[in-house]
């Protein structure tokens, strides 16, 4: 039997516009209106602790205002990104009961605000995810644990989660696929930022060569290898007389640019209910030079994925010279073109997006074969 082609829903996370929001250029309402007016939706993802004052406490009148705004602007809420702040007390980690309660408040906030998905993070173990199922069911919020570099789909920790999901069989347990796990090069816009900080062409070439070597080897098999790679970027900067760039090379080279292959996602694809279309920039040909956006969209389409793709622009950390809005516009054009090339399309209509997303989240596990 041939799998029907998927029709992913176009969308964006407001995280892409962190720099504009942080500098008070757009408040939450203005940013939502901008996203809608520019056609970056219909999917809308928001980080709770970034955009909602007092989060996770959300009063009903605020939630009403927010949901009215989303409806008026013709957007569709996809994921509320929540955080597993296990280290919120400086001297100890949260115990299990505290962690579950901490997550419960945020899952409740997702429901109050009208988000059907809560993006959760890798610090939640299989036991924690299983323990959260009754809460997710009570609020009818899908918990989509983000698979983010330096993890990847076939990493033992992710496979352990997948196996537990299979055992538990709840449609409220899922993954968020973050494209940063499957990157094909050190982002050129970040190299340009280092160049502007005075890094020599020789040093930049050496950074690229080091990363390409790790790409050839594939993702780190364990934390020890991850640590060695992290250290090698620091060593490279030091040997080249720019020790102050070492940590930056290391964090980005190992934590943002994950070297797994696109097909690695097949390990968990049936449990992927949300996607972070992570990317870092757009080149002069209007393509993403270091994230294989076209292959990733084709993979999703061919495997029948009908959830949202939140375009997640991460280049704002270092790219001060280009507008994040233009960059999002161009990256979404690449996604639409890739979906068309794969024989399908991205959903951009609000009503269709709402209908397809609801059906996607209601489908039993595994909803793909």
């Amino acid at each position: 039997m041939t799998e029907p082609l998927g029709t992913p829903i176009q969308g964006v996370t407001l995280y892409s516009f962190t720099r504009a929001s942080h500098q008070r250029e757009y408040d939450l309402e203005a940013l939502i209106r901008k996203v809608a007016a520019e056609g970056y939706g219909p999917g809308l993802e928001i980080i709770g602790f970034s955009s909602f004052r007092g989060f996770p406490e959300i009063d009903d009148s605020f939630a009403g205002w927010f949901k009215d705004l989303v409806a008026e602007t013709g957007l569709v809420q996809t994921s509320l990104a929540v955080n597993a702040d296990i280290g919120i007390h400086r001297d100890r980690l949260l115990n299990q009961d505290e962690l579950i309660e901490y997550m419960r408040r945020q899952i409740k906030a997702a429901a109050t605000l009208g988000f059907p998905i809560a993006r959760v993070q890798i610090s939640l173990t299989p036991d924690s995810m299983e323990q959260l199922v009754p809460i997710a069911e009570e609020y009818d919020v899908t918990l989509a644990l983000e698979v983010h570099a330096d993890q990847y789909a076939s990493h033992p920790r992710i496979l352990a989660l997948r196996d537990r999901y299979e055992q538990v069989g709840s449609r409220h347990l899922a993954f968020t696929m973050d494209w940063g796990a499957t990157v094909t090069g050190f982002a050129p816009s970040l190299l340009e930022a280092y160049r502007r900080r005075g890094a020599s062409e020789d040093l930049l070439a050496a950074v690229v060569e080091l990363w390409n070597g790790y790409y050839a080897e594939g993702p780190p098999a364990n934390q020890q290898v991850h640590g060695q790679r992290f250290g090698s970027f620091i060593g490279l900067a030091a040997r080249n007389g720019r020790p102050e760039l070492g940590i930056d090379f290391a964090i980005n080279g190992t934590g943002l640019f994950g070297p797994a292959r696109v097909e690695d996602w097949l390990e968990i694809l049936p449990w992927v209910r949300h996607v972070h279309g992570k990317f870092f920039g757009i080149d002069e040909n209007h393509e993403e030079p270091s994230v294989p956006v076209r292959e990733l969209v084709a993979l999703l389409v061919e495997n029948g994925y009908n959830g949202a793709i939140s375009s997640e622009y991460e280049g704002w950390h270092w790219n001060h010279w280009q507008s994040p809005f233009d960059i999002i516009r161009d990256e979404q054009a690449v996604q639409r073109s890739a979906a068309a090339n794969a024989g399908s399309r991205m959903i951009t209509d609000r009503a269709e997006a709402a209908r397809v997303l609801a059906a996607h989240l209601a489908a039993p596990v595994p909803h793909l074969t």
């Binding site: 962190t18 942080h22 500098q23 602790f49 970034s50 989060f55 296990i86 280290g87 610090s123 950390h317």
Partner: protein, 132 residues
């Protein structure tokens, strides 16, 4: 992340023998007081003594010791906090160099069995002082 935004331009204020400056979070999301682990403040290269530093957030002033256990007060990304300390500055129309260091704990990035990532960020800006 966004360390260039820590010090708010034009907020250096003289309070007798003390000075204050407004600061922004160099991170994309709110953090509670317990994750604000420490700061340094220097004016024209002269540091305020650590025990004299105070942190004002959401209208309340704290010592860094008081912030240690505080998970009730949060530093929202759009809000300015006020860092002050015992170091004089003259509102004399001249330029002064302000240096601020911040140490923040990132509570969801666990790096070992009992430890989360902390980041140290620094910003320096030049501005004139005003009297309180």
């Amino acid at each position: 992340m966004i360390p260039d935004r820590i010090i708010e331009q034009g907020t250096l204020t003289a309070h007798g023998s003390r000075s204050s400056v407004e600061v922004r979070i160099p991170w994309y999301r709110a953090l509670p007081g317990s994750c604000i682990a420490g700061a340094k403040l220097s004016i024209d290269g002269i540091p305020a003594a650590p025990e004299t530093l105070r942190w004002e957030m959401n209208g309340t002033e704290f010592t860094f010791e008081e912030l240690r256990d505080n998970t009730a007060e949060w530093w929202f990304p759009l809000d300015s906090a006020v860092l002050s300390g015992e170091v004089p500055v003259a509102a004399d129309g001249g330029d002064h160099t302000v240096d601020v260091d911040l140490t923040l704990y990132i509570p969801y990035i666990v790096i070992s069995d009992n430890e989360v990532l902390h980041i140290e960020e620094h910003d320096t800006k030049t501005m004139k002082a005003v009297n309180a």
